[in-house]
């Protein structure tokens, strides 16, 4: 079990975003988090990587327990993520954006970099090599020098995935990776996600609205509604679970 969330509660002022949510994630699996809008899914992801600090509860990652996490700490421990509204650096090229994902692995200080020759140059080229592998994997070679701000939405999402992969994470959190994509783009993205899981062995936690995708690619599913967990199990069970159906259809409760 690589990640365990115990009784996490999060509120903003009077709004309770999460109430005593608990679940776990096994290594190498693809865990989906689903639920109607406003259920607290993004907030949960934000708690997992330290952007939000829960009022109570604990998170255990790789056998270390935290009551709350700092984003940099999460990043250095091997958690990477993508965002619902793309959080790329619009002024930089695709290549540079993905290279920023390697920052935790770079050791040279600024003086060495100013000199360029020697360790800084070697390090930069080595990381360039690693990043090019990812660019290859995601099939974005043709746009590597394009400023990210100019790319269409679907490609930006792919670049963001690339940046997350560049950190060689053990746990990858994906916030609606297929939002706003057409069928073809979704198929491509599914393929990439499954390849990441297969090829790199990364554990994946993803938030997704497309039920077809969730049923097809996830190993287990957590369902949230109004900040509470209402179901947890394999896709086949979830699709038959009455509480889940009620939540989505909006039955009064």
């Amino acid at each position: 079990m690589i990640l365990s969330v115990e009784n996490v509660s999060l509120s903003f002022g009077g709004v309770k975003a999460l109430q005593e949510v608990s679940f776990d994630v096994e290594q190498h699996e693809v865990r989906a988090i689903i639920g109607p809008n406003g259920a607290g899914k993004s907030s949960l992801l934000n708690v997992l990587n330290g952007v939000y600090h829960p009022q109570s509860g604990r998170i255990t990652f790789k056998e270390k327990t935290f009551e709350d996490m700092d984003p940099r700490q999460a990043a250095s421990m091997g958690i990477a993520r993508t965002f619902q509204n793309i959080a790329l650096f619009k002024g930089m090229s695709v290549l540079d954006n993905i290279m920023t994902g390697r920052n935790l692995k770079m050791g040279c200080n600024f003086l060495q970099q100013a000199l360029w020759l020697g360790p800084a140059r070697r390090e930069e080229l080595a990381h360039r090599h690693a990043v090019e592998e990812i660019i290859d994997f995601l099939e974005i070679e043709h746009i590597r020098r394009t400023p990210v701000g100019r790319l269409p939405y679907g490609l930006q999402k792919r670049v963001e995935l690339g940046r997350a992969l560049a950190a060689e994470p053990e746990l990858l959190l994906l916030d609606e990776p297929m939002a706003g994509m057409n069928l073809e783009e979704k198929q491509d993205m599914c393929r990439f996600i499954l390849d990441v899981n297969d090829h790199y062995g990364t554990t994946l936690v993803l938030i997704e609205h497309d039920m077809g995708v969730v049923m097809d690619i996830s190993s287990r599913v957590v369902v949230l509604d109004y900040g509470r967990k209402i179901a947890d199990g394999v896709p086949a069970e979830i699709r038959r679970n009455q509480k889940v159906i009620d939540a989505y259809l909006g039955v009064a409760h």
Partner: protein, 358 residues
């Protein structure tokens, strides 16, 4: 036709990452450097060297410093002149009080002191952003100037607060001629520009730009916010400090604190805006523009007043200068917010196709 990349294939990442990947660019740069280092000092007119070209180089360095902070790292600063002042006065003091200090060493001391001041006044940037930060840098500007004025030690207790920069001596040679000072300035600026370019295309540069574009995302992927911002302030102030030292030693000669007022900070900011935010080349283009512009205006008004026999007062000319200046800033911001550097880039792209339309 001339500017073709055809046949220039990159077969290694090292080749791809060069500063000038296109061969024609490398040749042009080499020729430019040759011209600058060899031809200009031999044929250059004394006046042009000492009053125009050397200050242009010095201000380019300051603009480079400001560009690193404001253009690359997105931290708006109005305190550039204060950092230059620190560099100038500390270089003077280093040369004065440390026996046997080589002049370049004094410049480095000036730069390092400026960097330390930059660190202190950059601390607020960890909590404050945008315009608020700009106003905080004003605190730096006014405070530093007051301190240099009031604390006698800086000007070696001279009654007027004015210092006279010492004679420059390098390896036994006296650098007193305009050509000599020009060459020293050129050498220092060239080396520092190269260092800046290397920095900006490495992880440091990327971290700066990440903080500029979206700092929350930057910290989520592991970029250390405080360290990055403070590094930006430190490096930028170092550059401005060295520029200030050069300003004192290779240009002004006699320096008073009033040479480093808010006005100068604005001038350098304009160089960065007009030249191109986030561009090394832009710093030079902007500095060239702002250094040469008043001269053109003056010559232009002289020509007009000769040609049409009307008298144009110098007050009118300087007011016109203000108006046109401000107007140009607005013009650039509307038409090409990325400044002259972007215009140059567009020109190069057109050149690659020339003489074909597309």
């Amino acid at each position: 036709m001339l500017y073709r990349e055809a046949g220039q294939f990159k077969s290694s990442y090292a080749e791809d990452q060069q500063i000038f990947p296109i061969r024609q660019d490398r040749v042009a740069m080499a020729l430019l450097l040759l011209f600058a280092f060899v031809v200009v000092p031999l044929v250059g007119d004394q006046y042009w060297l000492s009053a125009i070209i050397t200050p242009f180089l010095i201000l380019s360095l300051a603009a480079l410093g400001l560009n690193i902070l404001t253009g690359y790292a997105g931290q708006l600063s109005l305190g550039t002149a204060a950092f230059m002042a620190v560099g100038a006065f500390m270089a003077y003091n280093a040369e004065l009080r440390i026996p046997g200090m080589p002049i370049v060493g004094a410049f480095v001391v000036g730069g390092v002191c400026a960097a330390m001041v930059g660190l202190v006044f950059g601390l607020p940037s960890v909590r404050i952003k945008g315009f608020y930060l700009a106003v905080a840098t004003l605190a730096c500007q006014f405070f530093v100037l007051w301190a240099i004025n009031r604390i006698g030690w800086f000007s070696n207790y001279s009654t007027s607060g004015v210092i006279t920069a010492q004679k420059i001596e390098i390896l036994g040679y006296d650098v007193v001629t305009p050509a000599g000072k020009y060459l020293l300035t050129l050498a220092i600026v060239a080396v520092m520009a190269l260092a800046a370019k290397n920095l900006m295309r490495s992880e440091t540069g990327r971290a700066f730009m990440a903080v500029r574009d979206m700092d929350v995302a930057a910290s989520v992927i592991g970029i250390p916010m405080m360290r990055t911002k403070l590094l930006a302030f430190a490096i930028s102030s170092f550059y401005c400090g060295v520029a200030g030292a050069l300003y004192a030693f290779c240009y002004l000669g006699t320096v008073e604190p009033e040479a480093f007022t808010l006005d100068l900070s604005f001038r350098v900011l304009f160089m960065v805006i007009i030249g191109g935010v986030g561009s090394i080349l832009g710093s030079f283009l902007g500095a060239a523009f702002i250094t040469l512009f008043p001269i053109f205006l003056n010559r232009g008004s002289e020509w007009i007043s000769d040609a049409f026999s009307i008298e144009i007062q110098s007050a009118t000319v300087s007011n016109l200068e203000l108006i046109i200046f401000g107007g140009l800033i607005i013009f650039f911001l509307i038409v090409e917010p990325n400044g002259l550097a972007r215009l140059w880039q567009i020109t190069k792209e057109k050149l690659r196709l020339w003489p074909f339309p597309h």
